[in-house]
């Protein structure tokens, strides 16, 4: 197997991976960034509404207020040390991006434009805040391109269209690099690195209806899981309130931030009933559940009463064209509706994975060990959506995801620099270090098999959609788990018919499906185990939040066993926000 040696291997070239890469490349380190797709195709590109930070450009603001909102938004499951770090570093992270060239929209005074977003308040639960910085409704696109541009300048080494297969660990558990696969040539490559950073994004493709891209297949989670690392809080999946009905494409929360609102089949602005104060700008979990209930109780719109409407024509042509041009484009393309004239049909749609690879706020992956629940895995880091830091807890606030990428991208890079200084030598790769990856690749060379990858893929998505949706209960989850086990057995008997070496997308999709399967099992097992309702995890059979028994993080292992670890309620420098009833 061909070998290359770098100081750091970064897997994933989205916002998090490229922010970390920029920091390390600019610092003179030799960095390899691997990506399944050309960097600007990463799914950060699809983020629309903005990035939240307490700049106070429109209304008075304070990062502590942002912290309070984030803790409350997380339904108190977020770790308050990490949340403090996120919110305190927020303004600096945004200013840095502006200095890098990100074309933010502007206010009359020339400062960065900010808009109201869900779950934002002033003065610890008071009036609506205006905290989300935006480049029209293409903030993720603007951010991702800007980061790629700066990485060109910093001469970061990109391995474009390389898929990471598995981590390489030694007998002491240290991570020594990764085996990747050159998609164009069909050859494996061993990247030796003193530090390996997972930034592989989400895994929304486990569900049938998702705002996620085809590439969001949880590759980092699959790799971590296969190398013995448990996954944290996988029961918490965000259903975005407004995905285009049928197509699943995202309609930004920015629409409601700019004054749009939801109406049901009776023409009623129903969010007033569910969240009298914040209305349409309540937490995403609250709004998504409200829509699901309206539809379930027969108050949906259309002939089938299977969606609600997002109305924004009243905010005016000028504002829509200036602030929401991308939304208009998407709505015309996918809903066949021009929002200047008519409301957009929407349904709650899987959008974001709050759980992931357990990591602390400086990016190191931490696992339960003899010394306690959070011992660092030497040489391994995780950031962005694939990581669970946990700043989003049981429910992420809109605009906090892009911030998470930047803040922890940089923080992980800074910690890696310290780690590299303390660990100047690279340990040798053990003789069996690449066996796991080799066997995964060899498995798809097999020509005999009665099952097809596309069929298994579709069935897994249907099971997750039907058995692990907005509302959950034991019986339905248990049936889902049984069905999922059947589907996984079929995967053992699957084969692909494409055996070309050149750009073999059938093999890539098969490898992706294996990763998704890890994520699906972790999700349904964690969901079944958590017998309470918190944030995005709503159990019909346990409708209340139960802090006495469940104020703790789930850690699910590959063999199905589950551990728990306490929530970090103590921030770094400020007083804690103790759990209280969450209402909007």
């Amino acid at each position: 197997m061909e070998r290359r040696k770098f100081d750091v291997a970064i897997i994933g070239a989205g916002g998090a991976g490229m922010r970390a890469a920029l920091q390390l490349s600019s610092g003179g380190y030799n960095v390899a960034v691997l990506s399944k797709v050309f960097p600007t195709r990463s799914h950060t590109v699809a983020a629309q509404g903005g990035i939240t930070a307490a700049l106070g450009n429109v209304t008075e603001d304070n990062w502590l207020w942002h912290m309070y909102d984030t803790v409350k938004g997380s339904d108190y499951l977020g770790d308050q040390d990490a949340i403090e770090y996120l919110c305190r570093m927020g303004p600096q992270a945004v200013y840095e991006m502006e200095h890098f060239g990100l074309p933010f929209s502007r206010l009359e005074n020339g400062k960065i434009y900010q808009r109201p977003f869900g779950g934002q308040s002033r003065n610890f639960g008071g009036e609506q805040a205006t905290r989300t910085c935006a480049a029209a409704d293409r903030t993720g696109h603007a951010m991702l391109h800007t980061l790629y541009q700066r990485n060109i300048q910093a001469k970061t080494h990109f391995f474009v269209e390389y898929m990471a297969i598995d981590l390489v660990r030694d007998g002491e558990g240290r991570v020594l690099g990764v085996v990747a696969f050159d998609m164009e040539k069909g050859e494996p490559l061993l990247i030796e690195a003193r530090a390996t950073l997972l930034a592989t994004g989400g895994a929304g493709r486990i569900f049938q209806a998702s705002t996620n891209a085809f590439i969001n297949t949880g590759d980092g989670l699959g790799m971590a899981s296969r190398s013995g690392i448990p996954l944290e809080d996988m029961e918490f999946w965000q259903f975005h309130p407004t995905g285009v009905q049928g197509a699943g494409v995202l309609i930004s929360e920015g629409v409601r931030g700019e004054g749009g609102y939801l109406v049901n089949g009776n023409g009623e602005r129903f969010m007033e009933r569910y969240a009298p104060h914040a209305k349409d700008l309540a937490g995403r979990d609250v709004v998504a559940r409200a829509i699901a209930l309206e539809i379930h109780e027969g108050r949906g719109c259309g002939e089938a009463r299977d969606h609600v409407l997002l109305k924004l024509d009243h905010i005016g042509r000028e504002k829509i064209m200036a602030r929401l041009p991308g939304i208009r484009e998407i709505s015309i393309n996918f809903a066949h509706v021009d929002p200047l004239e008519a409301p957009i049909p929407v349904v709650p749609t899987v959008h974001y994975m709050m759980g992931g690879i357990p990591a602390h706020y400086r990016g190191q992956v931490v696992v339960p060990a003899r010394t306690g629940p959070e011992e660092a895995v030497q040489g391994l880091y995780a950031i962005g959506e694939c990581a669970c830091v946990s700043v989003h807890g049981a429910n992420r606030l809109g605009g906090n995801s892009l911030l998470d990428l930047l803040v922890f991208g940089r923080a992980a890079a800074d910690h890696i620099v310290e780690f590299l200084k303390e660990n100047p030598a690279s340990p040798p790769i053990p003789a069996d270090g690449t066996d796991l990856a080799r066997s995964r690749l060899a498995r798809w060379e097999r020509r005999q098999g009665s099952e097809r990858v596309a069929d298994i893929y579709r069935d897994m998505q249907r099971i997750m959609q039907a058995h692990c949706g907005v509302f959950r209960k034991a019986e339905v989850l248990e049936q889902g788990l049984v069905k999922l086990e059947e589907v996984r057995r079929r995967l053992d008997d699957a084969a692909i018919s494409d055996h070309s070496k050149v750009y073999n997308t059938a093999r890539i999709e098969a490898l992706e499906l294996e990763n998704l399967m890890e994520v699906a099992f972790a999700t349904i097992r964690s969901a079944l185990a958590r017998r309470e309702s918190r944030g995005a995890h709503a159990r019909d059979d346990y409708p209340e939040r139960n802090d006495k028994s469940w104020l703790k993080h789930t850690l699910v292992h590959r063999d199905g066993t589950i551990d728990y670890k306490p929530v970090r309620l103590k921030p770094l420098t400020v007083p804690s926000f103790p759990p209280k009833t969450r209402s909007y």
Binding site: R41, V45, G101, N109, H141, V249, I330
Partner: protein, 231 residues
């Protein structure tokens, strides 16, 4: 509905060929990418790039009935049968609908696509008026799909020397940014018989852009600015 798709796998095929697929799509309105995914579920050897499926990542650019476009935002109802799909023209084919984008990205990288500002950054943001920012609308939205550049005859003839519409649109995006200080170096770099001046305003790029951007206009702005600085 019938699709006629360019197939070529250098591992097994001596030359490219067109392969027909018939798909029962019913009355449901679908995008071309949805149909391709259905075809791929039947024949997993068909290779194409795709990711966001909403027209923002730029992966699934291809030549659709003779015109470059993104499969994910091209409704089947807009297409005549048989739907003829080929890889983007003017770039080497790797396999099936997948082309080697390297010559395209090399030109993009050549225009130094990053903001240059040598002043020490302020503690907060650099200020930019809404009017100054509005100049960037229609420029920064480029998704680097290459529909425009690979529709341009000047790029077909001189892919090594002519920057092409996508790269030049981005060159103008930085020249036009009130925060950028490298205008004269950027213009110097383009003052060349090929890099900029191979554009003959054929305007295929404008017709091809799936995001409705206008590279020809941006190129015109650069040319005007060059003329202005020589007088």
């Amino acid at each position: 509905m019938r699709f006629s798709i360019y197939r070529y796998d250098p591992d097994t095929d001596s030359s490219p060929y067109m392969k027909d697929y018939d798909l029962d799509i019913g009355s449901k309105d679908m995008m071309l990418l949805d149909a391709l995914i259905m075809i791929k579920a039947r024949d997993d050897t068909l290779s194409l790039r795709r990711s966001c499926r909403e027209g923002v990542c730029g992966s699934d650019a291809m030549n659709i009935n003779g015109k470059n476009g993104l499969a994910c935002i091209t409704p089947l109802s807009s297409l005549k049968e048989p739907v003829e799909l080929r890889p983007l023209p003017g770039l080497p084919v790797i396999r099936d609908l997948i082309v080697d984008m390297e010559p395209f990205f090399r030109q993009y990288h050549s225009i130094r696509p990053y903001l240059v500002n040598n002043d020490p950054p302020p503690e907060t943001e650099r200020l930019q008026s809404p009017e100054e920012r509005a100049v960037l609308d229609g420029l920064y939205e480029c998704i680097l799909c290459a529909c425009c550049t690979t529709a341009c005859p000047s790029f077909w003839w001189n892919p090594e020397k002519f920057v092409g519409p996508a790269g030049l649109l981005q060159a103008w995006r930085f020249i036009a940014d009130s925060r950028d200080q490298a205008t004269s170096q950027r213009l110097d770099d383009l003052e060349d018989p090929y890099r900029l001046f191979r554009c003959h305003s054929i305007m295929n790029c404008v017709d091809a852009c799936p995001k409705g951007l206008n590279p020809t206009a941006a190129i015109g702005e650069i040319k005007r600015m060059m003329v202005r600085r020589t007088v």
